[in-house]
């Protein structure tokens, strides 16, 4: 067995004739023994060596002969390690030292060298098998009776895939598909999916088709498709979703069309909800809105030229951060407003830039129905 002698110095340092300690090669077992020569002024009779690597840390007790065979666990992780010698008057549990004395040396750099033992050239058959096992370019079908897709289910999956969900599925967990290469998703019609949690599809940038969200959904997570390239999102109507939280549709930079479902009452947060969708051209809103839309809810969507309000619209709304609305779009909005004659007035705010595109007679379409335009 190869032996490395290490002096444990009273000043807290370790020294050896080698520079960097070469503990072994990846996957080696019991090839190297560390032998410690401990300065006589160092107290404590119970000795340990702590091994620290970016992927793992281990604490091993040194034998009574002041030696330690480099454990296989250490050789499992090639790369840079740090070792530290510990002497104490009591045993150590985890990272806790309970005794009255502890010497802990300064970390000393060590290395486990990359090996080639685990590398084998693959046959074509093995490559094909590997593709099957690793699921490259595959269609993933979530089986019936599966009720939950857990957190991080396909997080950062490098393979391209499409997914089909069955009607028993109830929830899609937080970050379930974040940074994966999902290309399309098909929800079960008339299924039981009730919640898509925060960040579920965040940073997915390989979408080949838009998404149709089933009517069964009642909870929509924040940042659900944040920073993804999904081209369209359409919600089936009527939906069980009551409100959309802050950042429901943020930074969807290739989204061109967004349709919110009938049944939704509005935006629940006090921050941006539909924002930084730089390609969004058309936004369709149902007449079930009852919560006031404030200016900050819909902002920084530079290409947004058309907001379609469903006929009978009856909720105050501020679209003044949508400066590129066309006059025809705004006239269509006025025509869609519910006639509030004899009722309390509501407000439709378009902002000065948009108002400058309209004539007095066009604005009068709204004001004559007892809507105040701003």
């Amino acid at each position: 067995m190869y032996q490395i002698n290490i002096k444990v110095n009273a000043d807290g340092t370790l020294s050896t004739l080698d520079g960097t300690l070469r503990l072994g090669t990846e996957q080696e077992v019991s090839r190297t023994k560390l032998v410690f020569e401990i300065d006589h002024t160092i107290e404590g009779t119970i000795h340990y060596v702590k091994f620290a690597h970016k992927k793992a840390t281990y604490l091993y007790r040194v034998s009574s002969s002041n030696s330690l065979i480099v454990p296989p666990n250490v050789c499992r992780y090639p790369g840079r390690w740090f070792i530290s010698f510990i002497s104490s008057d009591s045993t150590i549990s985890g990272s806790t030292i309970s005794g009255n004395y502890a010497y802990i040396s300064e970390p000393y750099e060590a290395v486990v060298v990359n090996g080639i033992f685990g590398i084998n050239n693959e046959s074509e058959e093995l490559k094909l098998l590997s593709n099957l096992i690793e699921c490259s370019n595959f269609d993933l079908v979530i089986p019936t009776r599966t009720r939950y897709i857990g957190q991080n289910f396909m997080y950062k999956s490098p393979s391209k895939f499409s997914i089909t969900l069955h009607e028993d599925l109830q929830t899609i967990g937080e970050r379930a598909f974040e940074e994966s290469n999902i290309q399309s998703i098909k929800f079960a019609s008339d299924g039981n999916l009730s919640a898509i949690y925060d960040y579920a599809f965040q940073k997915t940038n390989d979408w080949k088709s838009g998404v149709v969200i089933p009517r069964s959904l009642s909870s929509w997570g924040r940042y659900a498709f944040h920073n993804s390239n999904v081209p369209s999102i359409i919600f089936e109507s009527p939906s069980k979703i009551n409100t959309f939280p802050t950042y429901s549709f943020a930074y969807l930079q290739t989204l061109t069309y967004l349709e919110l479902p009938k049944g939704v009452a509005g935006f629940s947060g006090s921050g941006q909800t539909i924002s930084f969708c730089s390609s969004l051209k058309t936004l369709k809103l149902p007449n079930t809105f009852s919560l006031v839309i404030q200016a900050y809810h819909i902002r920084d969507n530079e290409e947004l030229t058309e907001i379609i309000l469903e006929n009978g619209w009856n909720c105050s709304a501020n679209f003044s951060n949508c400066n590129n609305l066309t006059s025809s779009s705004m006239v269509a909005m006025f025509n869609a407003l519910k006639n509030l004659t004899g009722q309390t007035s509501k407000t439709l705010t378009l902002g000065s830039t948009n108002l400058s595109k309209l004539t007095s007679s066009q604005i009068a379409i709204a004001t004559s129905k007892n809507w105040t335009v701003s």
């Binding site: 960040y199 802050t246 921050g271 006031v292 404030q294 007035s345 407000t347 108002l355 004001t367 335009v373």
Partner: protein, 54 residues
């Protein structure tokens, strides 16, 4: 017929006393609406609360 167009003071916008809607600095009142349904507030109220994605 009463005045139907109003402009807020510099740095101010209108806010509905009825439903809290924040408006712009110009009002074209609905045919049965009244300026008494509105107050002027600082336009900084147009800013919402911000947070960061992780």
């Amino acid at each position: 017929m009463s005045k139907q167009v109003y402009t807020a003071d510099e740095g101010k916008i209108f806010k509905s006393k009825i439903d809290g809607a924040l408006l712009s600095n110009v009002l074209y009142l609905g045919i049965e609406d009244s300026i008494s349904n509105y107050e002027q507030v600082d336009e900084s109220e147009l800013l919402g609360n911000e947070e960061e994605a992780t």
